[in-house]
Amino acid sequence: MIKVTDLHKSFGDLEVLKGINAEVREKEVVCVIGPSGSGKSTFLRCLNLLEEVTSGEVVIDGESLTNPKININKLRSQVGMVFQHFNLFPHKTVLENVTLGPIKVKDTPKEEANELALQLLEKVGLSDKANSYPNSLSGGQKQRVAIARALAMNPKVMLFDEPTSALDPELVGDVLEVMKELAKEGMTMVVVTHEMGFAREMGDRVIFMDEGVIMEEGIPSDIFDNPQNPRTQSFLSKVL
């Protein structure tokens, strides 16, 4: 589903990604862990071209992102993104947040978009908030709306950029619950996270990144219980 080959990304003189090779298969949940500044968020943001790629290739569902002829808007509509700080549209109601993409990008008729949005809000447990504005919601509720907003485009892949890092601890559970539900339904997911519990339980594979490269990857039980790379060992000893 996603194939990344020798991905490099620099901000000016600072090289943040130094040659990433990775693959995500269909219906796979890949969790990316690592210390702050390791480049994991940048890596994720390169997957829908929110960051311009310096060199290397990213192929999603057979289409190369680095091909200059690609219709980037169409591609982004197939890749859902959930941000650390939610980035809901504060001037629109919860329902409008979810329907905007389908209506404007896919030309879905409004009634149909509303119906779909209500189903998705039901799914994330927020159908009673459809007509509220984002500012009246808790962080956990905001993030669940953001997930519904991304799902409304019926994406092939969902990217999560530290989706629970900005939440109060007691609100993390609800969001993780929704993500687990998605994973069980077979959604292809790439999750940058500090939630080691989630990575261990839900990840099909875990990628450990540090200093702009993938240091180690494997199934969760190997990574968490028997890390090979000394960097992984030292990181895990600090966070677990």
Partner: protein, 222 residues
Amino acid sequence: MIETLTDIFTSRHWQGTLPFIWRGLQLTLYITFVGVIVGFFLGTAAGLARLSKSKIIYGLATIYIELVRGTPILVQALFLYYAITNFGIYFDAITAGIIAIAINAGAYIAEIVRGGVESIDKGQMEAGRSIGLSSVQTMRYIIWPQAIKRMIPPLGNQFIISLKDTSVFAIISINEVTFLMRQYASSSADTLVPYIMLCLAYLIITIPSMVILRRIERRLDV
């Protein structure tokens, strides 16, 4: 000279100036409204141009803004009314005045627009793009509606500034309220009452505007 205080209060010029105030103020408001509305579109274009990645577009907008902000509106009015005739372009005084207000308001509004758009969190653009909206769509449906709310207070201020700016057009003989009161003062030989009335004429517009603005500002804060 004023002989006694009573002379001031009983002056017939309080009444006498009223028709001129009324007539002049209409023209003042007309020039201000038309000028600021045109200026708003000019300013929006220049403000968005200042956000452009293209160096040429950015450069052109910057030149416009700096030229206008760096010269007095009085000089601009003289230029538009007198100097430009050398190029075979003739504006009547009112048109020259409206253009002067428009380019001036436009230059300041450009910075208001740029500031307003830049004040919107970068995550909003990213969120819009990530659901597949183009950058123009994201600007239109997500960024602009939020930015315009924040622009209302400074736009209101600009309206008040432009209103006061129109007083300099007395120099190119536009029959706006300042011009008429100057005439009244010189023909009546009373230099006090007409100018008090002139101040009141501006205040009757500006003070309510400021009160309304402050109220909107407070509501937007919430």
